[in-house]
Symmetry: C2
Subunit: 354 residues, 2 copies
């Protein structure tokens, strides 16, 4: 597919997010010099690794440019249900993505099927940890949200249950990393957040994307297409933390994460624009906009919504509801494209293991 | 499926082969004591890792029984076309196989998509290397064999070309390992061989399995079903080495492998009986025998045979030829079961890295 095609746009947002982390990665690497003979970098929640290939290539180059004898191991990690065949194909250069594997004699990709809620490697193994756009997935859904599909629309005890789960999960993630990281190593994390202006993914001043998700499902309830219980089951098991929530276990001396040796070096939030709405602003091609945006959204929420539908429905009926749902979303964008989009809002952090 | 069902039998042969290596693995581990704080074991050409789960479990237990603080990393490696989704599902306990992952707090599975013709990890990383029933696959097919489908039926310059390729490949495999292995580490290899009595896989006194493969394809040539060129293209890119061929680079001081620090500790050959022909001898169930043996054979040679068929044939025609081929094999077993089977003939070796 040609440059600027739908596929490139779909991956470009996530890749832009990672590319913006590059100066932070290189800074972290510079601060851990001198480099030992063997170094290990982990990319946690890597999915198919396509969007981080350039970042990893840049990191290896940075290290071996300074220390040509240093042999670098890259550990790509994701949960067991990830598509590891796609990951290995991409990393080993069997796809159209430009892999780094053949560009270095002494850099070695390995793969882990352990989620970031578990330790994936022995204690004090890692020199650099990286993760992008992954840690908003909670380890479990603490409750259904009765009046929205996402915690950004929750309130009261339901919001509190999500906040509590997110706090526990963040601590679990950090404590696993504290054990895996060498003393003196660094961690660069790029995570969805709610920023100081209250912005978050798909909510940066235009139409609120999560409200759109919710409104369409509520229409399906109102028309009798799905039940109230199915709607509630669709609650997405995600939480977008604030800068304060990310920081506190890393700056408060009584936190077990702080006591395990983790320290916050810096945190900034950043909005990375939706490549589809940006293209639409330039070319005014409404159909291309809807054709690009809807599948991108669908790629990460379809499985959750579908799992919310009653198991008693026959599979064809379930599939049709899901098709109709995204068709309704597509029509909304076509009818009134202005303000739709999925701008990314991330917290970029660097963390030290002392 | 019940114990003793077809599936269990199909995997039991390969698992028996590995289980026979267990005393050798434990002996190798005993000889590399005392154990360091971190140890790494590689299983090369692991496929889906199902047949080596017990061996790996035993190795970790042996290490941590002696040295409870030692954290163990297991690197499962196979070529990029392997099914890594199946591998990760099995290793992470998402199938009916009993995984070791939840049985140890400090043992970590990692996966590599590098074949054993490449270095998969940095220099001096590995404490123990294991590989079973994998290294008979050559890196390339040196030529087609004109009068047989396998090197066991080749002669003259064609045989010599295979022997030369196998010698080069074996040296490549060993030199990669010499770099990856720590000084003082061990390697336990279990490889198909031609033994001192001239026996090899599927040729242990009864019907020669490879001659059967060949005879049926020759019938397909004679009847005009496939062309002579297609028959020649079907040459399997394998070589079954002799004990002498396995040993020589490890005992001859002028060999680059010897010079890189590899030494042969011991080598023995062993025949592991075909579980299907063993079951047939007990239960005289001819159909169960054919139903079990043919798919087992098919699992490793179908893709090679199919790739030999002319690309100009339409896919349905190619599939039908392959179906008819294995149906013909099935009929041969049904008509005259006596002597059919796929006994395994392996060389078991222990190699030191000095």
């Amino acid at each position: 597919m040609s440059e600027g095609g739908l596929y490139s746009l779909a991956t470009r947002g996530a890749k832009d997010v990672i590319d913006f982390a590059m100066p932070r990665v290189l800074q972290a690497l510079t601060e851990i010099k001198p480099y030992p003979d063997r170094m290990t970098i982990a990319d946690l929640g890597c999915a198919d690794a396509g969007t981080s290939l350039d970042m990893i290539r840049g990191a290896i180059h940075h290290i071996q440019n300074d220390s040509p004898e240093t042999q670098v191991t890259i550990i790509y990690a994701d949960q067991p249900a990830n598509d590891f065949n796609a990951l290995i194909s991409i990393v080993h250069g069997r796809t159209r993505f430009e892999s780094w594997v053949d560009q270095f004699d002494n850099a070695f990709p390995l793969v882990s099927g352990s989620s970031f809620y578990l330790r994936a490697v022995p204690d004090e193994s890692l020199d650099l940890v990286f993760s992008a756009t992954a840690m908003h997935w909670l380890s479990t859904k603490p409750c259904n949200i009765t009046r929205h599909v996402h915690m950004v629309g929750a309130s009261g005890p339901e919001f509190d249950a999500f906040a509590r789960q997110a706090r526990e999960d963040w601590e679990t993630i950090l404590l696993c990393r504290a054990r895996e990281m060498k003393r003196g190593s660094k961690m660069v994390l790029v995570n969805f957040c709610r920023d100081e202006q209250g912005r978050y993914l798909g909510n940066t001043g235009g139409v609120n994307m999560f409200d759109t998700f919710d409104e369409i499902w509520k229409e399906f309830v109102a028309s009798g297409r799905i039940t109230r219980q199915e709607y509630e089951n669709m609650t997405l098991p995600q939480y977008y933390r604030t800068a304060e929530e990310f920081s506190s276990p890393l700056v408060e001396p009584e936190s077990p994460c702080f006591q395990a040796g983790l320290r916050l070096d810096s945190l900034e939030t950043r909005v990375v624009p939706c490549p589809f709405s940006e293209a639409y602003k330039r070319n005014h091609d409404i159909k291309a906009f809807a054709d690009g945006l809807v599948p991108t959204v669908r790629s990460w929420n379809q499985s959750i919504f579908k799992a919310g539908l009653d198991r008693g429905r026959d599979p064809e009926n379930r599939n049709q509801i899901i098709e109709d749902y995204y068709a309704a979303y597509h029509r909304r964008v076509m009818d009134s494209p202005q303000g739709h989009g999925m701008d990314y809002v991330h917290a970029y952090m660097t963390i030290s293991r002392v």
